[in-house]
């Protein structure tokens, strides 16, 4: 349990928490979704729920790219890695995510050439350094990451690099929010908008959430005070019967976004007609693929990809947790079969996944309970 005086600016935190309590009258229940996995991580790490009155519920959103990727896509990507001529390159976050026949790390242990890169441009560098091999970069991420993959592909094309390709799993946040709002079993009163996605797309694309769906949204930073102030903004809007987009992360997020980054995305990618999301199912126009002009660097065109669809392990309830219908601890496998050391579902792998974030929060708060439940 964290005490308020452990925070920086403790008086301001206390005052903001008081303001939240004042605004959230006890007569109703509020469900606010933090869209971004970075916020989920921060909320649990700082124990921010402990500062909120019980009638404010934070629902964890789909903004963890590793978590929303269906297992079939991992299997498809790894099927390419079985080619002895291929180097499979991916971010560290991907390495322990289970596919049907193991995670990328387990594939590496079986002798396949799997490498961690920290930047898509390093996958390009790998290709330059290994001209006799083919380097396939397994790209994941929302609009925060897609521009970096796009620029990397533009450089590959400019160099005419023949032994490089991208297996593209980039997804876009707006259609996912739309799917959540359309889902009958989800009732969300307002949104804490993603921080770093918004540095790229700006605040304008959220306009419809306020104007059409009538839900307040505040784009937020990751500091405890940022998140609490965003909650104050949302409560004030609800109290005033307003729904607008507020930018509570102005020190980093320009209203118009980053035009150079959007231009790079537009140069390289086009929108897929539909894409499968773990837990949310198929969402139309929710992901990116390489344009025809980049076909030569598109792993899905260069290799025969089986197009595998796998349902999640039956006992794991990742889908319900991802949609916010279940809390992490309500999943039957939580802290029992599924732990950060032995993850069964992707939400337990990434620190931005709500299960891993909740697990580490619960361990700090009452380790005995978590350990007992895992016996």
């Amino acid at each position: 349990m964290r005490f308020v005086d452990e925070f920086r600016q403790p008086e301001l935190i206390t005052r903001t928490a008081d303001e939240i309590r004042r605004l959230a009258g006890p007569d109703r229940h509020y469900r606010f979704m933090e869209v971004c996995g970075g916020h989920t991580h921060a909320i649990y790490r700082f124990g921010l729920m402990d500062l909120l009155p019980p009638n404010i519920e934070l629902v964890h959103g789909p903004g963890c790219p590793v978590c929303v990727l269906p297992m079939g896509r991992i299997d498809d990507g790894l099927s390419i890695a079985e080619d002895p001529n291929v180097i499979f390159a991916a971010f560290g976050d991907m390495m322990r995510v289970p596919g049907t026949h193991g995670s990328p790390l387990e594939y590496k242990a079986r002798g396949m050439d799997v490498r961690i890169v920290y930047s898509p441009s390093d996958a390009l560098k790998l290709a330059r350094n290994n001209p006799d091999k083919h380097v396939m970069f397994f790209a994941i991420g929302f609009e925060t990451t897609a521009p970096s993959t796009a620029l990397t592909l533009m450089r590959a094309k400019a160099e005419g690099l023949p032994n490089f390709s991208v297996f593209c799993n980039h997804v876009t946040i707006i259609p996912a929010i739309r799917a959540i709002l359309d889902s009958p079993d989800m009732r969300i009163d307002a949104f804490i908008g993603p921080g770093h996605v918004s540095t790229v797309i700006g605040c304008r694309p959220y306009g419809w959430i306020a104007s059409d769906a009538g839900k307040p949204i505040a784009v937020s930073g990751f500091e405890p005070l940022d998140v609490l102030q965003s909650i104050v903004m949302l409560l004030r809007q609800l109290k005033d019967g307003k729904a607008i987009v507020e930018n509570n992360y102005k020190r980093v997020v320009p209203w118009e976004g980053n035009r150079a980054a959007l231009k790079a995305i537009g140069e390289v990618f086009e929108i897929r007609p539909y894409f499968e999301w773990r837990g949310l199912g198929f969402i139309s126009q929710s992901a990116l693929r390489l344009k025809e002009s980049y076909a030569q660097w598109d792993a899905e065109k260069r290799f025969s990809v089986p197009g595998i669809r796998v349902t999640d392990p039956k006992a794991a309830q990742c889908g319900e947790v991802l949609k916010g219908v279940l809390k992490p601890a309500q999943c039957k496998l939580f802290a029992k079969e599924c732990t950060p050391e032995h993850p069964i579902g992707a939400l337990m792998v990434s620190s931005e996944g709500s299960c891993a974030a909740y697990y580490s929060y619960a361990m700090r708060k009452s380790p005995e309970l978590v350990q007992m439940s895992s016996v």
Binding site: G38, R45, L126, H196
Partner: protein, 91 residues
């Protein structure tokens, strides 16, 4: 992955105008400036870095706040691992 890493630009490379050397807590690595083409940073500026690319310019105060927050989030180690890994581990 969402948590960006602040770094200070210590050198702009003449041979490649899209590349800069940044310093994050004493570790120096090359990063890509291509996404800031509309408003290119100069030596001494602070930027937020995501997967080896500068995403936005920020003030020094905000950069130091962000570094402190990464530590508080327990993410400093993995952030430094990421920075050290840029350029396949070489400067």
């Amino acid at each position: 992955m969402c948590l960006a890493i602040p770094g200070k630009i210590v050198e702009l490379l003449h041979e490649d105008r899209d590349t800069a050397v940044i310093d994050v807590l004493g570790v120096r690595r090359r990063i890509d400036l291509g996404l800031l083409a509309d408003d290119p940073p100069v030596t001494g500026d602070w930027v937020l870095i995501h997967v080896g690319f500068a995403m936005s310019k920020i003030s020094e105060v905000d950069a130091l706040d962000q570094l402190r927050m990464l530590t508080e989030l327990g993410e400093q180690e993995s952030a430094m691992e990421e920075v050290q890994g840029y350029g396949l581990g070489g400067p």
